[in-house]
Amino acid sequence: MSDFVSRIGTAPYVGPRRTAGSVGDAIFEWLCRGAGLIVLLTLGGIILTLFIAGLPAFQHFGLGFIFSTNWDPVEGREEFGAFISIFGTVVSSILAILFAVPVAFGIAYFLTELAPMWLRRPVGTAVELLAAIPSIIYGMWGLFVLVPFVQMNIQLTFGETLGAIPFIGFIFESNSFAGTSLFSAALVLAIMILPFIAATMRDVFEQVPPVYKESAYGLGATRWEVVSGVVIPYTRKSVVGGIMLGLGRALGETMAVTFVIGNANRMPQSIFDPSTTIASVIAMEFPESLAGSLQQSALFAIGFLLFFISFVVLATSRWLLRSRLKG
């Protein structure tokens, strides 16, 4: 259809008005295409800038940059390794996904199957409003409300009960009682990505043809059997896509995490130890680093790694969500 229209729009046609039209058409089309090129150039520019500015650090430390756990910006004994921040980024995001997915599924199930019609819109809007709240607000709320709560009520209970489990108990025991920890960061991230995952799930659950569900109900299936046997298999790809979208968001989240993770450049032994993420290290150290210093180059280099990780996750998410829509 659009092909047909565009052929008409630029068709060579004799006559004064038509000529004026096609000049205008050519100009407008190039304006639009130029804007599209700006978008391509921006992303290309981001990748190139991060890589070039990070190159001195990559060259100086080689492959060890990714695996080294030393991060020491003190002058004279500068040493930079990305492993701790990569570890913190990945672990906090994966924990966040583990917390958020069951709750998001519950909300989507509630909104599509359980809730009466009059309740669906207000509850759906409320969940979407969670997505609109700026990350700095999550950070402040996390620091002044969630962190004290984790410190007082969660950390000790977990440490005393789950800490007794052989072999993996140490994950829940920490000597740090500040409350700012990987766990707090993951909890804040989980609340932040909850609306994205829940909204995607709700939207794709609604796309399941009613006939499929009705035939399952007709066979005597319970509501849960319809959802687990028909709705989830039908929407599996998009559901995973939605989860990946949430993961992509969590990986790059900066401010909320910076407030609650404790920003410690040590390898965490437990989920209640303070840690750091790539984005928080950049936010904490970049404004104070010297232009052209090795530290600044190392910060660009971890920025490049963050871009790489989130690019892979976001591209996968998009592929999963798109391929579903098309067929």
């Binding site: 058409d25 509850v123 002044f144 909850l194 963050l306």
Partner: protein, 300 residues
């Protein structure tokens, strides 16, 4: 237990059939309760964030906060003058409005390109993909990019750099809504315009944009709401400033940055001001979101 097993069991043995039925409905009830609880948890967090914000924000929000610049902590001494957020409010208004002015036309043109010129072309698909990636890419990396591109050549943090970083965030939001809205316009409308002999660009500018205007405005509003709370990229571009400044070539304050700095200062009076700022930002962002929703609902 598969469905055929269940059928066979219930056919042969009524006791087993009843047990199976009980198990199935118990499972269903368990999931129902779990989902109700999950929804309650989600709503509880929203309520907790909003009540904390309103409670502490309104306690600290007064005329002084809106009309004075930053002042250092008073250490609880009431005779010393209190500071405020005027510098941050002014800086945020300048940067957000300029970034919207820069980003919107580009986003609009890109959305038009995707919907009207390149629905299935290779370049169109590439632009669509990259725009989607930019929509969710870590915003702090956009800050690093602008730092290298603008801050280093100028030789210092500047409002201009902040504007450009925010503009990059505006573009993909506007692209998405513009493309979606233009694609909703029925083909018959386009055919009618072309059939009257209008060139394509007039069709787009005078008819398609008019038909999609509420959706496009919604996209712009959502973009404004998004950048109004952005902090991370500004930390590396406009950085923050303690006085009211209109100079785009120098560091410029913004509400999110002031909130970040004052919330982490450790002084109760500064933290209170940070809550007031947080309340202002959230009220603005939520109001814009609700207006955008109403606009979109009118359309449909």
């Amino acid at each position: 237990m598969s469905a055929t097993d269940a059928a066979r069991l219930s056919f042969r043995d009524p006791v087993a059939a009843r047990a199976l039925g009980r198990r199935r409905s118990a499972m269903d009830r368990f999931i129902t309760i779990f989902c109700l609880a999950a929804t309650a948890v989600g709503l509880f967090f929203l309520a907790s964030i909003l009540t904390t914000l309103f409670w502490r924000g309104f306690a600290a929000l007064d005329w002084t906060v809106l009309t004075t610049e930053f002042r250092p902590t008073t250490y609880g001494d009431d005779t010393l003058p209190k500071g405020g957020l005027l510098h941050a409010i002014v800086g945020s208004l300048i940067q957000v409005s300029l970034a919207t002015l820069v980003g919107t036309p580009i986003g609009l043109l890109v959305g038009t390109y995707l919907a009207e010129y390149a629905r299935d072309s290779a370049l169109g698909n590439a632009v669509r993909f990259v725009s989607d990636i930019l929509l969710s890419a870590p915003s702090i990396l956009i800050g690093l990019f602008i730092y290298q591109l603008v801050v280093l050549p100028i030789g210092g943090f500047s409002g201009l750099a902040g504007v450009l970083a925010l503009a990059i965030i505006v573009i993909p939001v506007v692209v998405r809504t513009t493309e979606d809205m233009l694609q909703l316009i029925p083909a018959t409308l386009r055919e009618a315009v072309i059939g009257l002999g209008a060139p394509k660009w007039k069709m787009i500018l005078l008819v398609c944009y008019k038909a999609a205007i509420s959706g496009i405005v919604t996209g712009v509003l959502l973009a404004v709401a998004r950048i109004a709370g952005e902090t991370a990229p500004l930390l590396l571009t406009s950085f923050g400033n303690n006085v009211v400044s209109f100079d785009l070539m120098r560091a410029m304050a913004s509400l999110p940055i002031s909130i970040y700095q004052q919330a982490n200062s450790g002084f109760p009076d500064l933290i209170a001001i940070a809550w007031a700022g947080a309340l202002l930002v959230t009220l603005g962002v939520l109001a814009i979101n609700i207006i955008a929703r109403v606009l979109l609902r009118k359309k449909s």
